[in-house]
């Protein structure tokens, strides 16, 4: 119990962010029309590509002799970039399609 309280206390800022973001995330897309479900999913998919920041950090601080970290980190950056770039481009193409329909 004490460990949990300490953990919350040390990370109280992050805990606030988590709670506020949960409410914000739910509030923001609450009234999305169903035609936009797939593009919104795709857009959200691109946004969680922000995980690439972690991959860049891990890659950048790997020591030159640590091949496990270098290779896995390299792979992580490639995959993260795929997620970000591919995600945004696909979303843009989906939305382009909507425009043409009108």
């Amino acid at each position: 119990m004490q460990a949990v309280i300490n953990f919350l206390h040390e990370n109280i800022e992050a805990v606030y962010i988590v709670i506020l973001m949960i409410f914000l995330g739910i509030e923001i897309i609450g009234r999305v029309p169903s035609v936009l479900h797939t593009p919104l999913m795709s857009g959200a998919n691109a946004i969680h590509g922000v995980v690439i920041i972690g991959a860049i950090i891990v890659m950048g601080k790997a020591e030159s002799g640590n091949y496990i970290a270098l290779i896995l980190g390299f792979l992580a950056v490639v995959l993260g970039t795929l997620n970000v770039v591919g995600g945004f481009v696909v979303t843009d193409r989906m939305l382009e399609m909507f425009k043409k329909k009108k």
Partner: protein, 295 residues
């Protein structure tokens, strides 16, 4: 310099929120996507050039840039060439890559902890690593792995390479696998630092297995809902990375997608007149019915 980086992350977080908000309205959707993309570029460039770890700048620039260039080329080509009808499966594929990225980060961080501590004479892993730090690593690993394996299966199902696969007691089997994942995650934390990597990699393997069997029985028509669910999983995995590096952009982006993705999953179910529970264990009803029909 790190002050400027904090501002970069702040700007990125705001663009993610704005972008998601604008994406939920047909008139502004396209602009919203571009705004979020702009924020992402700011966050990425800021991290590459301004990030400092204990006063040390990041190195390995050739590695980082070549990885980003490879990823950009493949990602752009795949996204530009894909047929309109094949888009959901591509989203699933990219989502899986994000999950794998989150899992790999956590695996590398675990490897650091393991190497750092294995010279100590038999102390327990739990004595040298704070519980919050371990939780962020193990949650990122497990959720990322499940999301990766599940998304790849969903991708294969949508393009017809993987067929529905069910067997009797599959639901129970999945529960057991999941319980084992949790067990080994805790066991890793309680084991000797010298051998902590063995239960850790068992945890990774079991999480991958769970991801596969989680998606396998779900019918093809329900795939978009499952992809949306896995999408929010990856968001949470990214947020675990945010905890790990105390990175606000990863934390806001991840949790935002996690929450919005979960609601979106429920909304998508509702649009199809189904409940989430129905989708996730619906295959049971389906097989039972067909079995009855066969008789």
């Amino acid at each position: 310099m790190s002050g400027i980086l904090s501002i970069c992350y702040l700007v990125a977080s705001v663009t993610f929120i704005l972008g998601l908000k604008m994406l939920s309205n047909p008139a502004t959707a396209r602009k919203g996507n571009l705004i979020a993309a702009g924020g992402m570029i700011i966050a990425i460039l800021g991290t590459i050039f301004l990030y400092e770890n204990d006063g040390k700048k990041l190195g390995n620039y050739p590695w980082i840039f070549s990885a980003i260039i490879i990823g950009t080329i493949i990602g752009t080509l795949a996204a530009k060439k894909v047929k309109m009808t094949a888009m959901p499966e591509l989203v699933s594929f990219f989502n899986g890559m994000g999950g794998a990225c989150a899992a790999l980060i956590s695996i590398i961080e675990f490897d650091y902890l393991f190497r750092e501590n294995k010279m100590f004479d038999s102390t327990f892993f739990s004595h040298v690593v704070p519980v919050g730090h371990y939780l962020a690593i193990i949650a990122g690993t497990i959720i990322g792995s499940i999301s990766f394996a599940g998304s790849v299966i969903a991708w294969g199902k949508l393009n017809g390479k993987i067929k529905d696969f069910t067997f009797k007691g599959q639901h129970l089997f999945n529960l057991v696998v999941f319980a084992l994942v949790i067990f080994f995650a805790i066991y890793t934390y309680q084991s000797d630092v010298k051998v902590a990597n063995i239960p850790f990699f068992i945890t990774v393997a079991l999480a991958l297995l769970y991801g596969v069997f989680f998606v396998l029985p779900i019918g093809g028509a329900d795939m978009p809902v499952v992809i949306s669910l896995l999408n929010s999983f990856t968001g949470v995995a990214a947020a675990c990375g945010g905890f790990l590096y105390n990175n606000k952009a990863m934390l806001t982006g991840g949790i935002l997608v996690g929450a919005a993705g979960t609601l979106l999953t429920i909304l998508m179910c509702r649009a199809m007149n189904r409940s989430l529970k129905n989708v996730l264990i619906g295959s049971f009803g389906g097989t039972a019915k067909s079995a009855v029909g066969a008789k």
